[in-house]
Symmetry: C2
Subunit: 333 residues, 2 copies
Amino acid sequence: MDRLTGRTQMEKERDINILVTGGAGVIGSSLVKKLSGQITVTDNLSSSSSDPIADLIASNKVKFVRGDVRNLRLMKELTKDIDLVVHLAANGDVRYSPEKGTKLDTMVNTVGTFNVLEAMRVNDVKKIIFSSSSSVYGRASQIPTPETYGPLIPESLYASSKIGAEALILSFSKMFSFKAYIFRFANIVSSNFRKVGRNVIPDFVMKLKDNPKTLEVLGNGHQKKSYLYVDDCINGMLYASAKSRRDIDIFNLANIDSIEVKEIAKIVIEEMGLVNTRIKYTGGEAGWLGDVPISILDIKKVTELGWTPKLNSMEAVRKSARGIIRSISIRRS
Amino acid sequence: MDRLTGRTQMEKERDINILVTGGAGVIGSSLVKKLSGQITVTDNLSSSSSDPIADLIASNKVKFVRGDVRNLRLMKELTKDIDLVVHLAANGDVRYSPEKGTKLDTMVNTVGTFNVLEAMRVNDVKKIIFSSSSSVYGRASQIPTPETYGPLIPESLYASSKIGAEALILSFSKMFSFKAYIFRFANIVSSNFRKVGRNVIPDFVMKLKDNPKTLEVLGNGHQKKSYLYVDDCINGMLYASAKSRRDIDIFNLANIDSIEVKEIAKIVIEEMGLVNTRIKYTGGEAGWLGDVPISILDIKKVTELGWTPKLNSMEAVRKSARGIIRSISIRRS
């Protein structure tokens, strides 16, 4: 019995049917390995592959359906006889680029969430766990930022699409009696990484592989955020959604500490065994258009339920860096 | 020079080109009459007609294009050479019904707003005024509710679609340097009324026309809200958007007081000259699924700029009731 993961409750629920959208992604694929029950994973594989869950698919522990949350008809098919939806599918690339355009966040993250909810309503699915984002807070005037902070002034289209998705989940839950647990994630780091919309650690590793002498860091290096290791993230979601006494609840899910981007650069350089790497900052307090320079969440609400992360931000970053460096070395060799 | 409407500033801006979406609606048609500049109105007329602005169209003061915010291509055409968009178009019917379905709010109010913003971005339009709703606060634990209240837990799909729209406006404004003024409206009342999604006053008038002996009131009659006359609403929007010192701002726009539904029933009965009408309450604290029983907004932010409504809630309701009764009598005679 693991007090931190709430698995005893999950164990009791071996017979429940779970749909995980975005279940092949960095968070999804780790989550699926920890879930009990009959699991269906759907993912459009736009920024992932089904490799991380290939064993589970092969052994029939997981049913995999390649598909997109923008397809309402498919969502209606996939939610038949489902008891719980863990809705992780999203365009996870926070940065805007003219090539990418503006439409993806709204259509995948907001309208896609509408489709999942409408499918749940039609098929009488009564529980959803959702991965939102600390980006919803924008440049909050209150640090650390609690769940009650308002108004939410998003800095990116990604952040606004998550606000729209949260609002839809809350209203569907109120109107059609779903249970809903929304998690506003800090930066979730992992030894695995996305093909598209790379996070800071794989970004640094790749850059240093190409040029070990100079590392370009976006912004002034003082962007300060909280980093949570993927296993802690998953434990936190399962734990809080099991322990919450409310039918509808919103939780910040972040680390107890936060670190600056310049510290991440140093960790990655160290872990790669480099010594004379020069760090070049592009300058400016934000790394890119839509970036939030300081993101520190108040996690009292979730820690008061009894959850704490096993790795702090520094440890989470180091473990991720190590894993990513190893996996890239293996791929390239 | 009217200190309350900010019209001096508008007068100076005679040459600006303004697009008003939803400009044939109850609020839009009143607004259009007060605006200076070259005005284009677009409206799909789903819950209104162009009659209220027929004179302005006939005299070429307003260009009218029947159209829908769900049509991105049309929005791109209409925002060419525009300086300001007043975005009022919305599915304004807050109530859910199985016949209406769940999709309309998200597609019209959220995705429609996306289309307006994307069109603005493409055509370099740099200012938007938006009609949001006090419904975004849901059953707020803080009464009166300030703009900083969080988290927003919407009770209706309408409310969540407005949260999604607000978030989109804020992120587009942050990323592409728009000025944005968002107004969270109380119940806006008027002598005019919508064909679809009737508000409480025309609803009572119609019911009493059919049966003057008994008036059925949804809920227990104690739902308490703030009612703002349409002219005050328009003055407030123009005033606050002109006086705000911020490029992006959110304002509650409501009355200084609030009244119960049972008082509205009494006013309508009085104004119709009825004496022995029995009021029958359907019971329950909310009038319908998604209703918020108590909605009282903190309006310090807008009143500190110097704006105050001319009519209080009671006066606004009485004036509206009188106008609606008269117009229905004329139509039926």
